[in-house]
């Protein structure tokens, strides 16, 4: 098959089809989800094709939209890094879309299904676009597509969701503005918006004050979008109150695509030496991230709402990734990229479980989880897989990325980072075993009698297979990613490390 146009198709197809979904939703609502799933299936195909062509070519695949040459036209540039992220987005969004069928049917009134799925698909479009584009302004456009659809779709959630969405919008818009201002500065300096072009043009300007201000604006903008402590405050509210399908899609993906953009700017648009040696950007990021890990882990411990707890966990996980980046060496960066990918799947796993439990129980309060293992054994098993992965228990994938992060901090001689990483995993362990204890153990008195429970234990959960299937696949993927982490690193991530950092 001709894979030449795949980079364009992976953005254009979902974009166009999201409008088709809207139109179809006016006539036959039941057709919306099948179209979304088919589109995402096609995107998965495109993502695999793109990864394959990157691997066979062994370098960057470039695609010029409308055949306009850069720097005038928009360029889509795919290298090992974004090919991997694209594939992760494609897999997770497909699984989450399948999972969303029954959950959404319960949470969203049928009349809104058309707009809901339209926004869902637009959301994924934006994420794909942000990941694939090689143009800093195009990135802004797609970031706003993703963000605005996120504001709208989060507003569809329960209770205080519109307010949370509004708050998110304020924060997100400040972030987007900062980013836009930043690239504005770069454009003033260079007259170019193309990433590869900027890299060449910026080198002689590294001493410029204007460049530094632009860079700072860009960093702040990205930090808000990826919910880096202390600008994470929009995240817990909005992702908790969002519809389950939305939080399962956004929570793993949006913040991680933010991380990808950060990596792009630190290591592609700017030379790695700029952020690691000329200005202490990485030191600042690392310091902020370490505080963030501890803060978010403790905040997570204080939550009784499962989804809110997981939201704080995302903030902590972002901290881990940034710590890996801040190590500024090969192993640390491998850890950061691997953790980005792993975290996409871990969070997808945990948030789909949270969605299913909410839909089944009508409550996410951890205190009310007692006896859940009788009615939802498989769902809980998936939760255990996700939890162990986050804690960092081998052979789940979370361990392997943590291993590289730990090695990275040792290489860099950053003992504070190391201590925080280890303390963070302990806090995560406490966090999850608190939930598991509630879910698995009955409350018994000394004579061994539990509270009466009428129902017999079913062999598998009484939830639709469309919910159960994706969750089980995600759990299996966590083991799969763990056992094949060496292949992922050797074939893909090694090539995504900037040249200057490869020697070690």
């Amino acid at each position: 098959m001709n894979t030449e146009h795949f980079p364009a198709l992976i953005v254009v197809v979902p974009l166009l089809l999201s409008f088709v979904v809207f139109a179809v939703g006016l006539v036959r609502r039941s057709l919306c989800l099948p179209i979304v799933i088919l589109t995402l299936l096609a995107c998965l195909g495109f993502a695999i094709g793109i990864l394959q062509s990157v691997l066979t070519k062994g370098g960057t695949v470039r695609y010029y939209l409308g055949a306009w040459d850069p720097p005038w036209g928009i360029e889509y540039a795919v290298d090992h890094l974004n090919a991997l992220v694209l594939l992760s987005i494609a897999v997770v969004s497909l699984l989450v879309a399948i999972h969303s069928r029954s959950v959404t049917a319960k949470e969203i009134p049928a009349s809104k299904h058309g707009p809901f799925y339209t926004l869902l698909l637009l959301q994924v479009t934006g994420l794909f676009g942000m990941t694939i584009t090689g143009d800093v302004f195009n990135l802004y456009v797609l970031l706003e597509i993703a963000s605005f659809s996120a504001y709208a779709i989060i507003g569809m959630g329960e209770g205080g969701a519109p307010f949370a969405a509004f708050r998110y919008m304020i924060f997100g818009t400040i972030g987007a503005c900062a980013y836009l201002l930043g690239i504005g500065y770069l454009y003033i300096l260079t007259g170019s918006l193309n990433m590869a072009d900027l890299r060449q043009l910026l080198v002689p300007l590294y001493e410029s004050r204007v460049l530094l201000v632009g860079f700072a604006f860009i960093m702040v903008g990205i930090a808000i979008k990826m919910a880096l402590f202390p600008v994470h405050t929009w995240l817990p509210d909005s992702y908790t109150l969002a519809p389950s399908a939305v939080s399962a899609l956004l929570a793993p993906l949006f913040t991680k695509v933010g991380v990808y953009v950060l990596l792009r700017f630190l290591f592609t648009v700017f030379d790695p030496s700029f952020s690691s040696q000329m200005f202490p950007v990485l030191k600042v990021l690392g310091g902020v991230a370490t505080i963030g890990i501890i803060f978010a882990s403790i905040m997570a411990l204080a939550q009784t709402d499962l989804k809110r707890m997981l939201c704080y966990l995302i903030v902590a996980e972002i901290g881990y990734i940034v710590v890996g980046v801040a190590c500024a060496n090969r192993v640390g960066l491998i850890g950061a990229i691997l953790h980005t990918v792993n975290d996409i799947f871990m969070m997808a796993c945990l948030f789909t479980v949270a969605g299913s439990i909410t839909a089944y129980r009508g409550s996410r309060n951890i205190e009310l989880f007692r006896g859940l293992h009788r009615t939802m054994p498989v769902t809980l098993a998936v939760f255990v897989a996700g939890a162990l992965s986050v804690v960092g228990v081998p052979p789940f994938c979370g361990f392997f990325s943590k291993w590289y992060l730990v090695l990275g901090t040792i290489h860099a001689g950053q003992w504070v980072y190391l201590g925080v990483l280890l303390a963070g995993s302990l806090l995560n362990a406490v966090l999850f075993f608190r939930v598991l204890e509630k879910a698995y153990f009955e409350l018994r008195d000394e004579s061994g009698h539990a509270e009466p429970h009428g129902r017999k234990r079913p062999l598998i959960d009484r939830i639709p297979l469309t919910e159960l299937g994706p969750m089980v696949v995600l759990a299996l993927l966590l083991i799969f990613l763990g056992l094949f982490s060496n292949n992922i690193i050797g074939d893909v991530i090694e090539h995504a490390i900037p040249q200057t950092m490869r020697i070690h």
Binding site: L388, V391, G392, V393, P394, P395, F399, F400, W403, V406, L407, I410, H411, L418, L422, S425, L426, A429, F433, E437, Y440, F441, E442, L443, R444, D445, E446, G448, A450, R457, L459, L483, F484, S485, N486, I489, G490
Partner: protein
């Protein structure tokens, strides 16, 4: 040493995993089928482990690489004589305990039996995985599986007290695991590999200070599982678990995995020559000696039989590591022999405690006078187990203690010789009153034994201890294996 490539190690590890899945799928509706899976998996595992004895005794290493994790670091099984001893011990006793737990769980009509058997099988997956691992990272993986799969077993009763014990257990062991992870990363940073080498992987790498720091991390991390004082608190608390769990996991698989890891690190990561001065080993030995004596003194004060046994376990675990830390060939041999022999003896004692509980619901020693006349077979086995731990020939415990004492003598560390002897004396102080009261105290009651599925395993283990005392190289070839390890570690070849 020629590596023999074979699927057997992987099969031995997979057997309980597959067993666990079958147990889960069968569930509570067909308990007979579920328990047969457990026994079947145990027998299969023992079979696979035993099939590797012959090549290992020839001085070969049985190797199987599953997948590569990192450049030059793989998920790999490498079975040497040391791993073999632990694997044989854990897998053979699992068969016995499988039979025993059927009797125990059914007699007490315990709840959540499927979870119990499932987690039990998973724990054996971890324990034998630890034994057969070819490098530290594989070992760590199974070590974590072992820790986590045991948590539901400790908290099995689901009373607030049991759940507290479970939490305590997790805090100690996961906290330890984090330190191990750190130590592992530091070692990897120094040596570039985590493979075990009979000469010590870290020899000649890094400064003395760094090595001492890493050793301390390893000893605290793994020592938490081996219940070295002051990290022992979780073990007596964990005695709230059902007795089969205390028997196999808290006398054999889990704590011995801790001991196994400690010795692996001492001998195969550091090696006798890692430190320029022997003071490091002396300090470690002193800490262990304190544990040995203190644990025995505390044991005397315990009235709950299982808690007394727990402190006796703490004592013996440190005895084993102490033997290894002395690093003289006879002491090493004693340590390698005490590892399995103590397993057989202690499991007998625990299973007796469980049998008594099932029959009489008595847990306190003060209530047990006259029990020997009510349950003569159980108490006979108990007497054998207790005498073995004290070190009375011809029971197996005598042989290992003999070598340990000889080793301390040969190492020129007379203080540790004294420690070993004092510990044997204290063993007698807290075991024999139980035996005495059981036979000579109380009023005569008619014979009323526990179910056959419980007495048989008890008698089998006691008999095995006597047989191993007379023919120590019988079937399991523990002596040949121990000799082989001593040869490779200190032979310098």
């Amino acid at each position: 040493m020629e590596p023999v490539h074979s699927f057997a190690p992987f099969a031995a590890v997979l057997a309980p995993l597959i067993g666990a899945c079958l147990i889960l799928l069968t569930g509570r509706r067909r308990p007979n089928l579920r328990e047969s899976w457990s026994i079947l998996a145990a027998v299969a595992q023992f079979g696979f482990v035993y099939s590797m004895v012959a090549p290992v005794l020839k001085g070969n290493v049985v190797e199987y690489t599953v997948t590569e994790i990192y450049r030059g670091m793989a998920l790999q099984f490498r079975v040497d004589a040391f791993g073999m001893i632990f694997a044989l011990l854990a897998s053979s006793l699992w068969i016995v305990v499988s039979v025993y737990s059927i009797g125990y769980m059914r007699s007490l009509k315990e709840h959540a039996q499927t979870r119990f058997y499932f987690c039990f099988a998973l724990a054996l997956f971890g324990a034998v995985g630890v034994a057969l691992s070819g490098n530290l990272i594989t070992l760590y993986m199974f070590y974590e599986i072992l820790t986590i799969s045991t948590f539901p077993l400790v908290a099995h009763k689901e009373t607030p007290e049991a759940i507290r014990a479970g939490r305590k257990y997790l805090v100690y062991l996961l906290g330890g695991a984090v330190l191990v992870l750190l130590a592992m990363a530091l070692s990897f940073n120094l040596a570039g590999t985590l493979d075990f080498s009979p000469h010590g992987t870290l020899v000649g790498k890094g400064s003395q200070g760094e090595l001492q720091f890493i050793l301390a991390l390893f000893m605290i991390g793994f020592g938490a599982k081996a219940a070295i004082m002051p990290l022992h608190e979780w073990l007596p608390s964990a005695m709230i678990a059902p007795t089969p769990v205390s028997a196999l996991l808290h006398a054999v698989a889990v704590v011995k995995a801790g001991v196994f890891c400690c010795i692996r690190v001492i001998l195969y990561i550091f090696g006798p020559n890692a430190f320029s001065s022997p003071d490091v080993w002396f300090i470690l030995a002193c800490i262990l000696a304190v544990t040995v004596i203190l644990a025995n003194l505390i044991a005397i004060t315990q009235d709950n039989l299982k808690r007394r046994l727990a402190f006796s376990t703490i004592n013996n675990l440190s005895v084993i590591i102490l033997g290894a830390a002395l690093l003289s060939p006879p002491a090493l041999k004693g340590a390698f022999l005490h590892l399995p022999f103590h397993g057989f003896l202690k499991i007998t004692l625990f299973m007796c405690a469980g049998a008594i509980y099932v029959k009489t619901r008595k847990e306190l020693i003060s209530e047990m006078s006259g029990i020997g006349r009510q349950m003569p077979f159980t108490m006979a086995a108990f007497t054998i187990g207790a005498s073995g731990l004290v070190g009375i020939p011809p029971i197996s415990g005598f042989i290992s203690k003999w070598y340990l004492c000889g080793g301390a003598f040969k190492a020129g560390e007379l203080i540790f010789l004294f420690v070993f002897l004092a510990s044997a004396f204290l063993d007698a102080v807290y075991f024999f009153p139980i035996v005495y009261a059981a036979y000579f105290g109380g009023k005569t009651i008619r014979i009323d034994e526990a179910p056959l599925s419980m007495t048989l395993p008890v008698i089998a283990c006691a008999a095995a201890s006597i047989l191993l005392g007379i023919f120590p190289d019988l079937i399991f070839r523990f002596v040949s294996l121990a000799n082989l390890i001593v040869q490779t570690v200190s032979g310098g070849s």
